[in-house]
C-alpha cells in the first residue's frame, strides 16, 4: 500500500486555492493543512479573549468550502489540520456547519486538544514546573508581564487516535508540524510507537511537506522559468517500510529535485542529528535522496531514537506596543533626505516629550534588508524610509505614527506615500520558549459527527470577556 499525503498550506496566509487544486489534481489519502507559526497562537488567544467562539485559523473555513466537492467525490480523502488553534472545538462546530449545509452531516470530525496550558499554569507550577526560558535561562516566575498563551506541542498519537476513532477530518490545536503527517502514517501502517526509524521517516516526510511549496521549488534560487504561479504543492508517497517519495501534481509548476528537497530538509533546523519532535529524536544525517524520475525524489535511511520526555512549550507574553511607518523618498539625494526625515521625526517626538524603549531606522533600497552588510549603492534615485518603534506606552507609539504626514508640507521635496505612511499600533506578544514534562500534558481526543458537533454546546455564552 502506498499512502499519499499532500500538504496544501504551509502557514496562515498561504494560497487559499492551493488545497483544492492539490486534491483535484492528485488522488490523496490525506490532505494536511498547517496554519500555526510560533506566535500565531498568541494572536488567536487575544481573539478568543474578545469572543469565546473565536481563536482558530478561520482561513480554514473558505478552504473547507472549496474542498466539499472533493470530499463528496473522493471517499478516501481525509483532512488533518492544526487550524483549531486556541479553540479547536469551536473550529469543529464551524466546520460542522459547513459540512451539514453541504449535505455531509454524517462526516466524522475529531478534535485534538490538551495543548493549552494557560488555564493550568498555576497547577503545573505547583507540580514543580518552573518553565525556564530555553534561550536565556530565566524562570517564568521572574517575568512580570502578563502571559497571553502557553501551548505544549503535542505529537502524532492523539491524531492517530482520532483517525482510529473514525474521524475523516482531524482538527488540532498546537501539535508539532511534522506530526500532522506522522499521525496518518502511524494509523495506516500500524507501526509501533517505539519503532523510532519509522517514526523518523514519517517525521522527515512531514518536515519536508509542512512548508508547502518550499519543497517544490518555491523560495529557492534558480527560480527563473520555474512557473511558480502554478507551483504544485508537495505530496509524500509513503511505503510501509518507511521509504517515501516527494513529488507534486503532474503538470503543475515548480520542481522537485534533490536540491529542492535538501534545501527544505535543512530549513529551520538546529543540530541535524537531533531534530526533536514529540514523536521521535530524528537523525537527518542518515537520510538519502535519490532522483528517481522527473519531479520525484526518493527519500530513505532516516533514523531516530526515543522521543524526548519533555515537550516544547510555546509561551507568549504581552510586551508593549509597536508600529512602523514608511515614506517613499525620491531624487539624487534620496538617501541623505531619508536620513534628514528620520532626524526631523525624532526631533519632533523629542519636542513632544517622547523617548522610546527601542527604535529602528531602515533605508529600504539601500541595503537595509540585512543591516550593515552592504553599503548604499552610488547613484540611487529613490528609496523607502522605514522607521519603527517599540514601547510599553500605547499613546507614545500612537504619537509616533502621526509624525510622518506633517512632512508632506514641512519636509524636503521629493516625498510621497503619506496616506500609506501611518502604520497601525499593534500589541507585541513576545516569545518564551520552554519545556514541560510530557506526563503532565495528557492529550484529549473527541470524535463526533458534524450533526453532533453542531448540537454540542460551546463553553460560556458566546461573546464577552471571561
Amino acid at each position: 500500500m502506498t499512502l499519499r499525503i499532500g500538504n496544501g498550506a504551509g502557514f496562515w496566509g498561504d494560497n487559499l486555492d492551493a488545497p483544492r487544486r492539490l486534491v483535484e489534481s492528485s488522488k490523496l489519502d490525506y490532505l494536511t493543512l498547517e496554519y500555526l507559526a510560533e506566535l500565531t497562537l498568541s494572536i488567536l488567544a487575544r481573539l478568543r479573549e474578545k469572543d469565546q467562539s473565536a481563536g482558530y485559523a478561520h482561513d480554514f473555513l473558505p478552504v473547507l468550502k472549496s474542498l466539499v466537492p472533493a470530499l463528496k467525490a473522493q471517499p478516501q480523502l481525509k483532512i488533518v489540520t492544526n487550524a483549531g488553534g486556541m479553540n479547536p472545538a469551536s473550529c469543529a462546530r464551524a466546520v460542522a456547519a459547513i459540512l451539514a449545509e453541504a449535505g455531509l452531516a454524517d462526516t466524522s470530525i475529531g478534535v485534538v486538544a490538551g495543548d493549552d496550558l494557560l488555564p493550568r499554569l498555576d497547577e503545573l507550577r505547583a507540580e514543580g514546573c518552573d518553565f525556564r526560558n530555553l534561550d536565556d535561562g530565566r524562570r517564568l516566575a521572574d517575568l512580570d508581564q502578563p502571559i497571553v498563551s502557553a501551548n505544549a506541542y503535542l505529537g502524532a498519537r492523539p491524531i492517530a487516535d482520532a483517525l482510529a476513532g473514525g474521524a475523516r477530518i482531524v482538527i488540532t490545536g498546537r501539535v508539532a508540524d511534522a506530526s500532522l503527517t506522522v499521525g496518518p502514517a502511524m494509523h495506516e501502517f500500524d507501526w509501533s510507537w517505539t519503532d523510532w526509524d519509522k517514526l523518523a521517516a514519517a517525521s522527515v516526510a512531514g518536515h519536508l511537506i509542512e512548508c508547502g511549496a518550499q519543497a517544490t521549488g518555491g523560495y529557492l534560487s534558480g527560480w527563473e522559468g520555474a512557473n511558480l504561479a502554478d507551483v504544485g504543492y508537495p505530496i509524500a508517497e509513503l511505503e510501509a517500510d518507511g521509504r517515501f517519495v516527494i513529488t507534486k501534481p503532474a503538470g503543475s509548476g515548480g520542481r522537485v529535485t534533490q536540491e529542492t528537497v535538501a534545501a527544505q530538509l535543512v530549513y529551520e533546523i538546529g543540530d541535524p542529528r537531533h531534530y526533536l519532535t514529540p514523536d521521535v529524536n530524528c537523525d537527518f544525517t542518515t537520510v538519502s535522496l535519490v532522483e528517481e524520475g522527473p519531479d520525484r525524489v526518493a527519500v530513505f535511511g532516516a533514523s531516530g531514537g526515543p522521543a524526548p520526555e519533555m515537550l516544547k512549550v510555546s509561551l507568549a507574553y504581552r510586551d508593549g506596543f509597536m508600529a512602523d511607518g514608511r515614506l517613499l523618498v525620491y531624487g539624487d539625494d534620496c538617501v541623505k533626505k531619508a536620513h534628514e526625515c528620520a532626524k526631523i521625526i525624532g526631533l519632533k517626538l523629542a519636542q513632544a516629550g517622547y523617548e522610546y524603549e527601542r527604535t529602528s531606522f531602515e533605508v529600504l533600497g539601500a541595503g537595509a534588508g540585512v543591516p550593515g552588510l552592504t553599503p548604499p549603492p552610488a547613484g540611487l534615485k529613490e528609496c523607502v524610509l522605514r522607521l519603527a518603534v517599540h514601547d510599553p506606552r500605547r499613546e507614545a507609539v500612537e504619537r509616533f505614527t502621526r509624525e510622518f504626514a506633517p512632512l508632506a508640507t514641512s519636509g524636503p521635496a521629493g516625498l510621497a506615500g503619506y496616506t500609506q505612511a501611518r502604520g497601525e499600533v499593534r500589541p507585541v506578544f513576545a516569545y518564551w520558549p520552554t519545556l514541560v514534562p510530557r506526563a503532565l500534558v495528557p492529550p484529549q481526543v473527541d470524535v463526533r459527527n458534524a450533526a453532533q458537533w453542531l448540537a454540542s454546546r460551546p463553553p460560556g455564552n458566546g461573546k464577552g470577556p471571561h
Binding site: A262, A263, D271, S360, V370, L373, Y431
Partner: protein
C-alpha cells in the same frame, strides 16, 4: 581567475528559531560541497554577518545531502515577535550569504 560566488555553487535558505537564525546551504555538486566544507567555516560566516553581532555561530554537516547548516545565535533583533526590522525572521540571510565571494576558479 574569476571569483567564485557562493550562489553559483550552492542554494541557501534561511529561517528563524526564536532569536536565532539558521541558514541551510545545499551544494550543487560534490566538489562544491567539499570546497564549502573546507572554506565556509563557522568563523567565516560569523565574520560575514558581523554587523548582526551573532553571539555564536555553529556549523553542522550533512554530507549525505551535500548540505551545511549554520545556526547564528541572537541575530534577529529579538525574534519574529519583537524585531523592528523589515526582515523579522532572517529570511534574507540565505540570499545574502549566496553573495559571498572567493577569489579563484570554480571547483
Amino acid at each position: 581567475m574569476n571569483p567564485i560566488k557562493l550562489g553559483d555553487i550552492a542554494h541557501a535558505r534561511s529561517g528563524d528559531k526564536g532569536n536565532h537564525a539558521n541558514i541551510g546551504i545545499v551544494a550543487k555538486t560534490e566538489p562544491a560541497f567539499e570546497f564549502l566544507r573546507d572554506e565556509l567555516t563557522a568563523e567565516r560566516v560569523a565574520e560575514y554577518f558581523r554587523s548582526l553581532r551573532p553571539t555564536r555561530v555553529e556549523r553542522f554537516e550533512l554530507p549525505n545531502v551535500l548540505a551545511l547548516n549554520f545556526l547564528l545565535h541572537n541575530v534577529l533583533d529579538g525574534g519574529a515577535s519583537r524585531s523592528l526590522r523589515t526582515d523579522t525572521q532572517g529570511k534574507l540571510l540565505g540570499t545574502a550569504l549566496m553573495q559571498m565571494e572567493w577569489g579563484g576558479s570554480e571547483p
